[in-house]
Protein backbone atom coordinates (compact mmCIF):
# COMPACT_ATOMS: atom_id res chain seq x y z
CA UNK A 1 0.00 0.00 0.00
CA UNK A 2 2.76 2.37 0.90
CA UNK A 3 4.53 2.11 -2.49
CA UNK A 4 1.21 2.87 -4.20
CA UNK A 5 0.75 5.97 -2.03
CA UNK A 6 4.29 7.09 -2.88
CA UNK A 7 3.58 6.54 -6.55
CA UNK A 8 0.44 8.63 -6.32
CA UNK A 9 2.32 11.39 -4.53
CA UNK A 10 5.09 11.39 -7.09
CA UNK A 11 2.64 11.83 -9.96
CA UNK A 12 0.83 14.76 -8.38
CA UNK A 13 1.47 18.08 -10.10
CA UNK A 14 4.15 20.18 -8.42
CA UNK A 15 3.00 22.68 -5.84
CA UNK A 16 2.19 26.05 -7.45
CA UNK A 17 5.08 28.51 -7.49
CA UNK A 18 5.08 31.06 -4.71
CA UNK A 19 2.91 34.05 -5.60
CA UNK A 20 4.95 36.83 -7.09
CA UNK A 21 4.83 39.90 -4.87
CA UNK A 22 6.85 42.34 -2.82
CA UNK A 23 9.80 40.86 -0.95
CA UNK A 24 8.37 39.66 2.38
CA UNK A 25 11.66 40.64 4.02
CA UNK A 26 11.44 44.25 2.77
CA UNK A 27 12.06 46.92 5.37
CA UNK A 28 8.72 48.13 6.75
CA UNK A 29 10.23 51.21 8.36
CA UNK A 30 9.63 54.51 6.58
CA UNK A 31 12.67 56.51 5.40
CA UNK A 32 13.79 58.95 8.08
CA UNK A 33 14.43 61.72 5.55
CA UNK A 34 11.10 61.50 3.66
CA UNK A 35 9.61 64.70 2.26
CA UNK A 36 5.89 65.07 2.80
CA UNK A 37 4.75 68.67 2.98
CA UNK A 38 1.60 69.06 5.06
CA UNK A 39 0.71 72.21 3.09
CA UNK A 40 1.99 73.43 -0.25
CA UNK A 41 5.43 72.43 -1.53
CA UNK A 42 8.27 74.54 -0.10
CA UNK A 43 10.41 76.36 -2.67
CA UNK A 44 14.19 76.05 -2.61
CA UNK A 45 15.87 79.20 -1.36
CA UNK A 46 18.64 79.23 -3.99
CA UNK A 47 17.67 79.40 -7.66
CA UNK A 48 19.19 76.86 -10.06
CA UNK A 49 22.00 78.04 -12.38
CA UNK A 50 20.65 80.46 -15.00
CA UNK A 51 22.44 78.78 -17.91
CA UNK A 52 20.91 75.38 -17.08
CA UNK A 53 17.46 76.96 -16.71
CA UNK A 54 17.84 78.62 -20.12
CA UNK A 55 18.87 75.33 -21.71
CA UNK A 56 15.92 73.48 -20.14
CA UNK A 57 13.49 76.18 -21.24
CA UNK A 58 14.80 76.23 -24.81
CA UNK A 59 13.67 72.60 -24.93
CA UNK A 60 10.42 72.78 -22.95
CA UNK A 61 9.15 76.18 -24.07
CA UNK A 62 10.55 76.89 -27.55
CA UNK A 63 10.29 80.61 -28.31
CA UNK A 64 9.09 80.06 -31.86
CA UNK A 65 6.23 77.69 -30.95
CA UNK A 66 2.97 78.51 -32.70
CA UNK A 67 0.20 77.69 -30.24
CA UNK A 68 -2.37 78.37 -32.97
CA UNK A 69 -0.85 75.80 -35.36
CA UNK A 70 -3.76 73.61 -36.42
CA UNK A 71 -1.48 70.58 -36.63
CA UNK A 72 -0.09 71.23 -33.13
CA UNK A 73 3.50 70.65 -34.15
CA UNK A 74 6.45 70.82 -31.78
CA UNK A 75 7.07 70.50 -28.03
CA UNK A 76 3.99 71.98 -26.36
CA UNK A 77 4.54 72.13 -22.62
CA UNK A 78 1.60 73.17 -20.42
CA UNK A 79 3.40 72.88 -17.07
CA UNK A 80 6.57 71.67 -15.37
CA UNK A 81 7.39 71.21 -11.69
CA UNK A 82 10.74 69.87 -10.53
CA UNK A 83 11.02 68.79 -6.89
CA UNK A 84 14.56 68.21 -5.63
CA UNK A 85 15.17 67.00 -2.06
CA UNK A 86 11.54 67.77 -1.27
CA UNK A 87 11.66 71.38 -2.50
CA UNK A 88 10.46 72.96 -5.74
CA UNK A 89 13.54 74.10 -7.64
CA UNK A 90 11.82 74.91 -10.93
CA UNK A 91 8.24 75.52 -12.00
CA UNK A 92 6.68 77.11 -15.07
CA UNK A 93 3.32 77.06 -16.86
CA UNK A 94 2.03 78.05 -20.29
CA UNK A 95 -1.01 77.82 -22.55
CA UNK A 96 -3.43 79.24 -19.95
CA UNK A 97 -2.36 76.84 -17.19
CA UNK A 98 -1.02 77.88 -13.78
CA UNK A 99 -0.17 76.25 -10.44
CA UNK A 100 -3.85 76.05 -9.47
CA UNK A 101 -5.22 74.56 -12.70
CA UNK A 102 -5.65 70.80 -13.00
CA UNK A 103 -4.52 68.98 -16.15
CA UNK A 104 -5.80 65.68 -17.54
CA UNK A 105 -3.18 63.09 -16.60
CA UNK A 106 -4.26 60.40 -19.08
CA UNK A 107 -2.28 57.18 -18.43
CA UNK A 108 -0.36 58.74 -15.54
CA UNK A 109 -3.62 57.73 -13.81
CA UNK A 110 -2.51 54.09 -13.99
CA UNK A 111 0.13 54.62 -11.30
CA UNK A 112 -2.49 56.20 -9.03
CA UNK A 113 -4.64 53.12 -9.62
CA UNK A 114 -1.81 50.73 -8.75
CA UNK A 115 -1.20 52.84 -5.62
CA UNK A 116 -4.84 52.32 -4.62
CA UNK A 117 -4.37 48.58 -5.09
CA UNK A 118 -1.20 48.77 -2.98
CA UNK A 119 -3.07 50.60 -0.23
CA UNK A 120 -5.77 47.90 -0.26
CA UNK A 121 -3.04 45.24 0.11
CA UNK A 122 -1.36 47.19 2.90
CA UNK A 123 -4.70 47.46 4.72
CA UNK A 124 -5.11 43.69 4.48
CA UNK A 125 -8.20 43.98 2.28
CA UNK A 126 -6.78 42.52 -0.93
CA UNK A 127 -4.45 39.70 -1.94
CA UNK A 128 -2.29 39.75 -5.08
CA UNK A 129 -3.15 36.09 -5.68
CA UNK A 130 -6.91 36.69 -5.56
CA UNK A 131 -8.83 35.85 -8.73
CA UNK A 132 -10.91 38.59 -10.31
CA UNK A 133 -13.84 36.21 -9.70
CA UNK A 134 -13.24 36.43 -5.93
CA UNK A 135 -13.67 40.19 -6.13
CA UNK A 136 -16.05 41.14 -8.93
CA UNK A 137 -19.55 39.91 -9.79
CA UNK A 138 -20.60 38.36 -13.09
CA UNK A 139 -17.11 37.72 -14.47
CA UNK A 140 -17.11 35.26 -17.39
CA UNK A 141 -15.73 31.88 -16.29
CA UNK A 142 -12.74 31.96 -18.66
CA UNK A 143 -11.41 35.11 -16.94
CA UNK A 144 -11.37 33.56 -13.44
CA UNK A 145 -7.74 32.47 -13.97
CA UNK A 146 -6.66 36.15 -13.90
CA UNK A 147 -5.27 37.40 -10.60
CA UNK A 148 -4.69 40.89 -9.21
CA UNK A 149 -0.94 40.34 -9.70
CA UNK A 150 -1.48 39.50 -13.39
CA UNK A 151 -3.41 42.74 -13.90
CA UNK A 152 -0.69 44.82 -12.22
CA UNK A 153 1.96 43.43 -14.57
CA UNK A 154 -0.21 43.86 -17.70
CA UNK A 155 -0.17 40.09 -17.99
CA UNK A 156 -3.88 39.29 -17.90
CA UNK A 157 -3.47 37.50 -21.23
CA UNK A 158 -6.69 39.07 -22.52
CA UNK A 159 -6.83 39.63 -26.28
CA UNK A 160 -6.50 43.43 -26.27
CA UNK A 161 -5.41 46.08 -28.77
CA UNK A 162 -4.10 49.30 -27.24
CA UNK A 163 -4.24 51.76 -30.12
CA UNK A 164 -5.28 55.41 -30.19
CA UNK A 165 -6.29 58.07 -32.68
CA UNK A 166 -3.51 57.47 -35.22
CA UNK A 167 -4.56 53.86 -35.88
CA UNK A 168 -7.84 52.59 -37.32
CA UNK A 169 -10.47 53.23 -34.61
CA UNK A 170 -12.38 50.19 -35.80
CA UNK A 171 -9.89 47.82 -34.17
CA UNK A 172 -9.00 49.73 -30.98
CA UNK A 173 -10.02 48.05 -27.73
CA UNK A 174 -9.30 51.29 -25.85
CA UNK A 175 -11.58 53.50 -27.92
CA UNK A 176 -14.35 50.89 -27.72
CA UNK A 177 -13.90 50.81 -23.92
CA UNK A 178 -13.80 54.56 -23.32
CA UNK A 179 -16.26 55.85 -25.92
CA UNK A 180 -17.97 52.86 -27.53
CA UNK A 181 -19.66 49.71 -26.34
CA UNK A 182 -17.57 49.45 -23.17
CA UNK A 183 -18.15 52.86 -21.58
CA UNK A 184 -21.08 51.93 -19.34
CA UNK A 185 -19.15 49.19 -17.47
CA UNK A 186 -15.52 49.07 -18.51
CA UNK A 187 -14.35 46.22 -16.25
CA UNK A 188 -17.13 43.97 -17.53
CA UNK A 189 -16.27 44.92 -21.13
CA UNK A 190 -12.58 44.13 -20.59
CA UNK A 191 -13.17 40.79 -18.89
CA UNK A 192 -15.47 39.77 -21.73
CA UNK A 193 -12.47 39.53 -24.05
CA UNK A 194 -11.10 36.05 -24.78
CA UNK A 195 -7.71 34.96 -23.46
CA UNK A 196 -4.86 35.17 -25.95
CA UNK A 197 -2.22 33.89 -23.52
CA UNK A 198 -2.21 32.20 -20.18
CA UNK A 199 -2.16 34.94 -17.48
CA UNK A 200 1.36 35.83 -16.36
CA UNK A 201 3.02 34.65 -19.56
CA UNK A 202 2.98 37.75 -21.77
CA UNK A 203 3.04 41.54 -21.51
CA UNK A 204 0.42 43.64 -23.28
CA UNK A 205 0.15 47.29 -22.21
CA UNK A 206 -3.58 47.53 -21.61
CA UNK A 207 -5.81 50.29 -20.32
CA UNK A 208 -8.28 47.46 -19.91
CA UNK A 209 -6.16 45.72 -17.27
CA UNK A 210 -5.84 49.06 -15.42
CA UNK A 211 -9.60 49.55 -15.33
CA UNK A 212 -10.17 46.05 -13.99
CA UNK A 213 -7.60 46.98 -11.30
CA UNK A 214 -9.65 50.08 -10.50
CA UNK A 215 -12.74 47.88 -10.11
CA UNK A 216 -10.75 45.52 -7.88
CA UNK A 217 -9.53 48.43 -5.74
CA UNK A 218 -13.13 49.58 -5.42
CA UNK A 219 -14.32 46.12 -4.40
CA UNK A 220 -11.69 46.05 -1.64
CA UNK A 221 -11.86 49.64 -0.43
CA UNK A 222 -15.34 51.07 -1.08
CA UNK A 223 -17.12 48.84 1.51
CA UNK A 224 -14.89 50.36 4.21
CA UNK A 225 -14.08 53.84 2.91
CA UNK A 226 -17.15 54.65 0.79
CA UNK A 227 -17.47 55.20 -2.93
CA UNK A 228 -15.09 58.18 -2.77
CA UNK A 229 -12.36 55.90 -1.37
CA UNK A 230 -9.54 57.36 -3.56
CA UNK A 231 -9.86 60.60 -1.60
CA UNK A 232 -10.09 58.86 1.77
CA UNK A 233 -7.07 56.62 1.33
CA UNK A 234 -4.79 58.49 -1.11
CA UNK A 235 -5.62 62.02 -2.27
CA UNK A 236 -6.42 63.46 1.16
CA UNK A 237 -3.51 61.77 2.99
CA UNK A 238 -1.16 63.24 0.33
CA UNK A 239 -2.75 66.69 0.62
CA UNK A 240 -3.93 66.72 -3.00
CA UNK A 241 -6.47 69.54 -3.07
CA UNK A 242 -8.31 69.66 -6.36
CA UNK A 243 -8.26 66.17 -7.81
CA UNK A 244 -10.96 64.92 -10.15
CA UNK A 245 -11.10 61.18 -10.85
CA UNK A 246 -13.87 60.31 -13.29
CA UNK A 247 -15.93 57.12 -13.38
CA UNK A 248 -17.67 54.94 -15.90
CA UNK A 249 -21.41 54.34 -16.02
CA UNK A 250 -21.11 51.60 -13.39
CA UNK A 251 -19.33 53.89 -10.90
CA UNK A 252 -15.87 52.35 -11.42
CA UNK A 253 -13.05 54.89 -11.53
CA UNK A 254 -11.51 55.08 -14.98
CA UNK A 255 -8.16 54.09 -13.53
CA UNK A 256 -6.50 53.96 -16.93
CA UNK A 257 -7.05 57.53 -18.00
CA UNK A 258 -9.27 60.06 -16.26
CA UNK A 259 -7.46 61.61 -13.32
CA UNK A 260 -7.15 65.40 -13.39
CA UNK A 261 -4.73 67.17 -11.03
CA UNK A 262 -2.33 70.10 -10.86
CA UNK A 263 1.33 69.35 -11.59
CA UNK A 264 2.17 70.18 -7.95
CA UNK A 265 -0.31 67.53 -6.84
CA UNK A 266 0.96 65.00 -9.37
CA UNK A 267 4.41 65.52 -7.85
CA UNK A 268 3.03 64.31 -4.53
CA UNK A 269 2.47 60.83 -5.94
CA UNK A 270 6.04 60.85 -7.26
CA UNK A 271 7.31 61.82 -3.81
CA UNK A 272 5.21 59.05 -2.20
CA UNK A 273 6.94 56.54 -4.46
CA UNK A 274 10.36 58.14 -3.95
CA UNK A 275 9.84 57.74 -0.20
CA UNK A 276 9.07 54.00 -0.55
CA UNK A 277 5.30 54.42 -0.21
CA UNK A 278 5.44 56.51 2.95
CA UNK A 279 3.98 59.94 3.59
CA UNK A 280 4.47 61.92 6.80
CA UNK A 281 6.10 58.88 8.39
CA UNK A 282 3.01 56.75 7.70
CA UNK A 283 3.27 53.73 5.44
CA UNK A 284 0.56 53.79 2.74
CA UNK A 285 1.98 51.22 0.29
CA UNK A 286 3.19 47.80 1.45
CA UNK A 287 6.87 47.32 2.33
CA UNK A 288 8.71 46.49 -0.89
CA UNK A 289 5.81 47.58 -3.12
CA UNK A 290 7.81 50.26 -4.95
CA UNK A 291 10.81 47.96 -5.48
CA UNK A 292 8.55 45.17 -6.79
CA UNK A 293 6.59 47.53 -9.05
CA UNK A 294 9.79 48.85 -10.60
CA UNK A 295 11.15 45.44 -11.60
CA UNK A 296 10.96 44.20 -15.18
CA UNK A 297 8.22 41.56 -15.22
CA UNK A 298 8.38 37.98 -16.50
CA UNK A 299 5.87 38.80 -19.23
CA UNK A 300 7.99 41.73 -20.42
CA UNK A 301 11.10 39.52 -20.56
CA UNK A 302 9.30 36.57 -22.11
CA UNK A 303 6.65 37.79 -24.54
CA UNK A 304 6.10 41.54 -24.90
CA UNK A 305 3.30 42.37 -27.35
CA UNK A 306 2.87 45.74 -29.11
CA UNK A 307 6.31 46.77 -27.77
CA UNK A 308 9.64 47.41 -29.49
CA UNK A 309 13.24 47.60 -28.22
CA UNK A 310 14.18 51.18 -27.35
CA UNK A 311 10.76 51.97 -25.89
CA UNK A 312 10.46 52.46 -22.13
CA UNK A 313 10.04 49.16 -20.31
CA UNK A 314 7.05 48.33 -18.13
CA UNK A 315 7.17 47.25 -14.53
CA UNK A 316 3.80 47.22 -12.81
CA UNK A 317 1.75 50.21 -13.99
CA UNK A 318 4.95 52.27 -14.21
CA UNK A 319 7.58 52.73 -16.95
CA UNK A 320 11.22 51.83 -16.27
CA UNK A 321 14.62 52.92 -17.53
CA UNK A 322 15.94 49.36 -17.62
CA UNK A 323 17.33 47.07 -20.31
CA UNK A 324 15.56 43.91 -21.48
CA UNK A 325 18.45 41.98 -23.07
CA UNK A 326 16.21 38.94 -23.62
CA UNK A 327 14.19 41.02 -26.09
CA UNK A 328 17.08 42.66 -27.92
CA UNK A 329 17.03 45.80 -25.81
CA UNK A 330 20.41 45.91 -24.01
CA UNK A 331 20.43 49.70 -23.54
CA UNK A 332 18.60 52.08 -21.23
CA UNK A 333 15.54 53.67 -22.88
CA UNK A 334 16.58 57.06 -21.42
CA UNK A 335 20.39 56.93 -21.54
CA UNK A 336 20.80 60.42 -20.04
CA UNK A 337 19.16 59.25 -16.81
CA UNK A 338 20.29 56.73 -14.19
CA UNK A 339 18.90 53.19 -14.35
CA UNK A 340 16.81 53.67 -11.21
CA UNK A 341 14.64 56.22 -13.04
CA UNK A 342 10.97 55.35 -13.47
CA UNK A 343 7.94 57.24 -14.72
CA UNK A 344 4.18 57.38 -14.94
CA UNK A 345 3.48 58.45 -18.51
CA UNK A 346 0.33 59.53 -20.32
CA UNK A 347 -1.07 60.34 -23.75
CA UNK A 348 0.12 63.59 -25.32
CA UNK A 349 3.22 63.41 -23.09
CA UNK A 350 2.10 63.81 -19.52
CA UNK A 351 4.56 62.39 -16.99
CA UNK A 352 5.69 62.03 -13.41
CA UNK A 353 9.32 60.92 -13.36
CA UNK A 354 11.09 59.74 -10.21
CA UNK A 355 14.88 59.47 -9.90
CA UNK A 356 15.55 58.10 -6.40
CA UNK A 357 19.35 58.33 -6.67
CA UNK A 358 19.06 62.10 -7.30
CA UNK A 359 16.18 62.68 -4.83
CA UNK A 360 14.24 64.06 -7.76
CA UNK A 361 10.59 64.17 -8.88
CA UNK A 362 9.73 65.78 -12.22
CA UNK A 363 6.23 66.48 -13.49
CA UNK A 364 5.53 67.55 -17.03
CA UNK A 365 2.10 68.22 -18.57
CA UNK A 366 1.66 68.96 -22.25
CA UNK A 367 -0.27 68.71 -25.45
CA UNK A 368 2.29 67.02 -27.72
CA UNK A 369 0.81 65.40 -30.78
CA UNK A 370 3.53 64.97 -33.40
CA UNK A 371 6.24 62.77 -31.89
CA UNK A 372 8.79 65.59 -31.45
CA UNK A 373 8.96 65.12 -27.67
CA UNK A 374 11.94 63.24 -26.26
CA UNK A 375 11.68 62.21 -22.63
CA UNK A 376 15.43 61.60 -22.64
CA UNK A 377 16.15 65.15 -23.85
CA UNK A 378 13.95 66.53 -21.06
CA UNK A 379 15.61 64.40 -18.37
CA UNK A 380 19.09 65.27 -19.70
CA UNK A 381 18.45 69.00 -19.26
CA UNK A 382 16.60 68.63 -15.97
CA UNK A 383 19.46 66.58 -14.50
CA UNK A 384 21.91 69.30 -15.59
CA UNK A 385 19.75 71.83 -13.80
CA UNK A 386 19.91 70.06 -10.43
CA UNK A 387 23.49 68.82 -10.76
CA UNK A 388 25.06 71.83 -9.06
CA UNK A 389 22.45 72.17 -6.34
Amino acid sequence: MLPLALLLLSTCPPAPAAVDGPDPAADAACPADGASPAGDWPHASAPPPAAAVAELERYLFPADLDWADKDKRGVRTDGVVIVHRGQVVYERYAHGYDATRPHLAWSVSKTFTSSLVGIAVQQGRLSLSASVCDLLADVPQHACVITVGDLLSFSSGLDWKETYEHDPPTSSSVLAMLYGEGHADMARFVLGHPLRDRPGQSFQYSSGDSNVLAAVAGAALAPVHGDRFPWAVLFQPLGMQGVTFERDGAGTYVGSSYLHATPRDLARLGQLWLDDGCWGGQRLLPPGWVAWSTQVTAGMRGKPLEWSPGEPVQGRQVWLNQPVPEQGAPDLPWPAAPPDTYAAMGHWKQSITVIPSRDLVLVRTGDDRDGTWSHNAFLDRALDLVEGL
Binding site: A176, L178, G180, L195, R198
Partner: protein, 95 residues
Protein backbone atom coordinates in the same frame (compact mmCIF):
# COMPACT_ATOMS: atom_id res chain seq x y z
CA UNK B 1 -10.74 17.66 -22.93
CA UNK B 2 -10.71 20.67 -20.60
CA UNK B 3 -7.04 21.16 -21.40
CA UNK B 4 -7.81 21.03 -25.10
CA UNK B 5 -10.53 23.64 -24.69
CA UNK B 6 -8.18 25.82 -22.68
CA UNK B 7 -5.52 25.54 -25.35
CA UNK B 8 -8.00 26.44 -28.07
CA UNK B 9 -9.21 29.46 -26.15
CA UNK B 10 -5.60 30.60 -25.69
CA UNK B 11 -4.92 30.29 -29.39
CA UNK B 12 -6.84 33.47 -30.23
CA UNK B 13 -9.50 31.77 -32.34
CA UNK B 14 -12.16 34.21 -31.20
CA UNK B 15 -11.77 37.40 -33.16
CA UNK B 16 -13.30 40.29 -31.33
CA UNK B 17 -15.19 42.91 -33.28
CA UNK B 18 -16.42 46.18 -31.86
CA UNK B 19 -19.43 48.34 -32.39
CA UNK B 20 -17.08 50.76 -34.06
CA UNK B 21 -18.95 53.28 -36.09
CA UNK B 22 -16.48 56.12 -36.33
CA UNK B 23 -19.09 58.80 -35.62
CA UNK B 24 -20.43 56.95 -32.57
CA UNK B 25 -16.90 56.88 -31.12
CA UNK B 26 -16.19 60.41 -32.31
CA UNK B 27 -19.26 61.99 -30.72
CA UNK B 28 -18.65 59.94 -27.54
CA UNK B 29 -15.08 61.20 -27.28
CA UNK B 30 -16.10 64.74 -28.15
CA UNK B 31 -18.95 64.94 -25.60
CA UNK B 32 -16.99 63.21 -22.83
CA UNK B 33 -13.81 65.26 -23.20
CA UNK B 34 -15.59 68.59 -23.75
CA UNK B 35 -17.67 68.01 -20.60
CA UNK B 36 -14.52 67.48 -18.52
CA UNK B 37 -12.74 70.38 -20.18
CA UNK B 38 -15.56 72.85 -19.49
CA UNK B 39 -16.81 71.67 -16.09
CA UNK B 40 -13.67 70.12 -14.53
CA UNK B 41 -10.81 72.12 -16.02
CA UNK B 42 -12.89 75.31 -16.17
CA UNK B 43 -11.63 76.25 -19.62
CA UNK B 44 -13.65 78.23 -22.17
CA UNK B 45 -15.36 76.46 -25.05
CA UNK B 46 -12.95 77.71 -27.68
CA UNK B 47 -9.88 76.40 -25.85
CA UNK B 48 -11.70 73.11 -25.22
CA UNK B 49 -12.44 72.75 -28.91
CA UNK B 50 -8.71 73.15 -29.50
CA UNK B 51 -7.67 70.84 -26.64
CA UNK B 52 -9.74 67.85 -27.69
CA UNK B 53 -9.16 68.23 -31.40
CA UNK B 54 -8.26 64.98 -33.13
CA UNK B 55 -8.20 64.07 -36.77
CA UNK B 56 -10.65 63.50 -38.40
CA UNK B 57 -12.44 66.32 -36.59
CA UNK B 58 -16.06 65.47 -37.36
CA UNK B 59 -18.07 66.27 -34.23
CA UNK B 60 -19.21 69.55 -32.67
CA UNK B 61 -20.34 70.01 -29.06
CA UNK B 62 -22.84 72.27 -27.31
CA UNK B 63 -22.67 73.08 -23.61
CA UNK B 64 -25.78 73.40 -21.45
CA UNK B 65 -24.41 75.01 -18.30
CA UNK B 66 -27.72 74.94 -16.44
CA UNK B 67 -28.23 71.23 -17.02
CA UNK B 68 -24.49 70.47 -16.64
CA UNK B 69 -24.39 68.55 -19.88
CA UNK B 70 -22.44 68.59 -23.11
CA UNK B 71 -23.99 67.16 -26.26
CA UNK B 72 -21.93 66.32 -29.29
CA UNK B 73 -23.39 65.93 -32.75
CA UNK B 74 -22.12 64.81 -36.12
CA UNK B 75 -23.60 64.51 -39.58
CA UNK B 76 -26.12 61.72 -40.02
CA UNK B 77 -27.91 62.28 -36.70
CA UNK B 78 -25.15 60.97 -34.44
CA UNK B 79 -25.57 62.44 -30.97
CA UNK B 80 -24.04 61.63 -27.56
CA UNK B 81 -24.33 63.44 -24.22
CA UNK B 82 -22.00 63.61 -21.20
CA UNK B 83 -23.17 64.81 -17.81
CA UNK B 84 -21.23 66.63 -15.10
CA UNK B 85 -21.78 64.94 -11.71
CA UNK B 86 -19.61 66.93 -9.29
CA UNK B 87 -16.09 68.32 -8.89
CA UNK B 88 -14.68 65.05 -7.51
CA UNK B 89 -15.97 62.60 -10.08
CA UNK B 90 -16.36 64.96 -13.02
CA UNK B 91 -18.28 63.81 -16.08
CA UNK B 92 -19.77 60.56 -17.31
CA UNK B 93 -20.97 59.58 -20.76
CA UNK B 94 -24.73 59.02 -20.63
CA UNK B 95 -25.63 56.53 -23.30
Amino acid sequence: MILLLALLSCAGKDVRTYDTDLLHLGTGYNARMACSCVFVLGRDEESCQDLLKVSPDLARFQVDREAGTVTSKALGGWRRTARFVDAQVGCVLEE
